[in-house]
Amino acid sequence: MTDDRALGPDMHPPLWFPEAALPAADQDLLEQLLEGRLDPASAPPGYGGLARLLAAATAPATPEELADAQRTMAAFAAAMRSHPPTLSPRRTAMPRKVLTIKAAAAALVAVLSLGGVAAAASGLLPDQASPVADQASATTGTDAAAHGLGPAAAANLGEAADAGSADGQGRASAVGPDATGTAQAGLCRAWQAGQGADHGQKADSVAFQALAEAAGGADHIAAYCQDVAAGASADAYGQSQASPPSVSAPPTSVTPPSSGPPADPGPPASTGPGGHGGPPTTTG
C-alpha cells in the first residue's frame, strides 16, 4: 500500500474517457470505495451511485449463493476419506518428486540425442548443416522424442517440459559443453558398433537419419565416420568454439516455455510463504 503512492501522474484516465462528466475524486476516496469503507450516504456528489453499486456487490450472502453447501461438504468428506489428512505433507509430495527426476532423466537422453544430431550435421558438412539443424530445432521436444525415443520416453519428456525451471537449468548445463565434439563421434561409434546387426531399426531413428544425411547418404556413413574418428580428437575443441549458434537450438526446444499456461496454481504453501504470508506462488 505504500509503494504505489507515487502514482499521481499515471492516474490520468484514457483519452476516450470523458472525465469532465465527473467531479474529481481523489485517490483516497477511490481507495475507500474499493475497501468498502465509504458509506454511500456520505459519498461526494457523483459517487453516490457507485458507492451503492459497490455496497450491493458486497451485500451479505444470499441463501442461493450458499446452495452448494451440501455438494461441497460431500466433496470435502470424500477427499478426506480417499486422502486421509497427514501431518507431514511431504509424504504426498514425494512421488511427484521422483517422477520429476525420472522425467528429467528421460529429457536429458532426448536432448543428448538431439544435440548429437545437430552436432553431426553442423560439425562436418557446413553446407548441409543449417537445414538439418533447422529441422532438429523445428521439431518440438515431444515430437523428436516420439520419433527417436519411443512413446514412453516421449510421455516422460512431455512431463519434463512441464517441470520447473530448475530442471531446465540442469539439462542445459549437462548438454551444453560436449554436444558438439563427442556426440558426433559417439554417433559414429554407435553406428559402427551396430553395423551388420539391426540396421533396420537404427536407420529409422532420427539420429542415424541425420548421420546419413550429414554423410551424404546411408552408403557413405562408414567412410564419413572413419574421417570423424580420425579428426574427432584433434578438432573437438575447435569445433565447439566455432560451432554456429544453431547447435544449441535442440536443447532449448525442449526446455519449457517461460510463460507457460497457468494451468493450476498447484499445491498452495508447500514452500511456506513465510511471515508475510503472501499467496503461494505458482510457476508463472
Binding site: G49, A56, A69, P262, A263, P268
Partner: protein, 188 residues
C-alpha cells in the same frame, strides 16, 4: 473475514473436520461466486465448485494466515476463469457475450436495479461490463477484499498498475451509474 478463529478452523479443516471447513467455505463462497459472476458469468456456479474442489485438494499443504488463504483461493479461482475463457475461445459455437447477456437478471436496466433494490447480481453485471483487466482488479479488490499488493501478485502485474486499473474501473462505473439519470439523490 473470519478473524482470530481462522488458524483454529484451518487446522481443523486440514485435519478433516467438516464443520471447520464449512465455516471457511461459507465465509468465502459468496465472494468466490461473485468473482466468477464478474469474470466468467455463464459458468459461475460450476467454476466456483471447481475452485473449491481444488482448494480441498490442496488444503492439507496450505500454510499461512487468513489473508494468504483468501489470496490463494482467489488465485485458484482466477486460473479457473482463465481456463474457462481459453476453452470458450476454442468453441466458436459458444458465443460468450450472448451468454453473458442472457445470464443477467435485468439486461434492460441493471443500473436501475442497483439503485432501487441494491441487487447484487445487477451490480456484478455492471462490474462485468468493464474492460476485462479493470473488471478483474475491481472484483478482486472489492469482492475478494484483497489489498493492492495481493491482487498484484495474483494477476502478475505491478502494484501501481493494479491501482490504476482499479481506479479507472471505478471512475468508469461511476459514470455508467450517474449517466443514466438516476442521480445521487436517489438514496437507497
Amino acid at each position: 473475514m473470519i478473524g482470530p478463529r481462522f488458524p483454529e478452523l484451518l487446522a481443523g479443516a486440514q485435519g478433516g473436520d467438516e464443520q471447520a471447513f464449512a465455516v471457511l467455505w461459507r465465509d468465502l463462497q459468496p465472494a468466490v461466486l461473485r468473482y466468477f459472476r464478474v469474470a466468467a458469468a455463464p459458468a459461475a456456479e460450476d467454476l466456483a465448485a471447481d475452485t473449491w474442489l481444488a482448494v480441498i485438494g490442496g488444503l492439507g499443504r496450505f500454510r499461512g494466515e487468513e489473508r494468504a488463504f483468501r489470496a490463494w483461493v482467489f488465485t485458484v479461482a482466477r486460473h479457473r476463469a482463465i481456463d474457462w475463457h481459453r476453452q470458450a475461445a476454442r468453441r466458436p459455437t459458444d458465443p460468450v457475450p450472448a451468454e453473458r447477456l442472457s445470464e443477467r437478471p435485468a439486461p434492460d436496466d441493471p443500473v436501475g436495479q442497483v439503485l432501487e433494490d441494491r441487487s447484487t447480481r445487477a451490480a456484478l453485471a455492471l462490474v462485468a461490463e468493464l474492460p476485462p483487466d479493470q473488471a478483474e482488479v475491481v472484483a478482486l479488490r472489492v469482492l475478494g477484499g484483497l489489498e493492492v499488493a495481493e491482487v498484484a501478485r495474483i494477476v502478475g502485474k505491478r502494484p501501481g498498475t493494479v491501482r490504476v486499473l482499479a481506479h479507472r474501473g471505478l471512475r468508469r462505473l461511476a459514470r455508467r451509474v450517474e449517466v443514466t439519470g438516476l442521480l445521487g439523490d436517489v438514496t437507497r
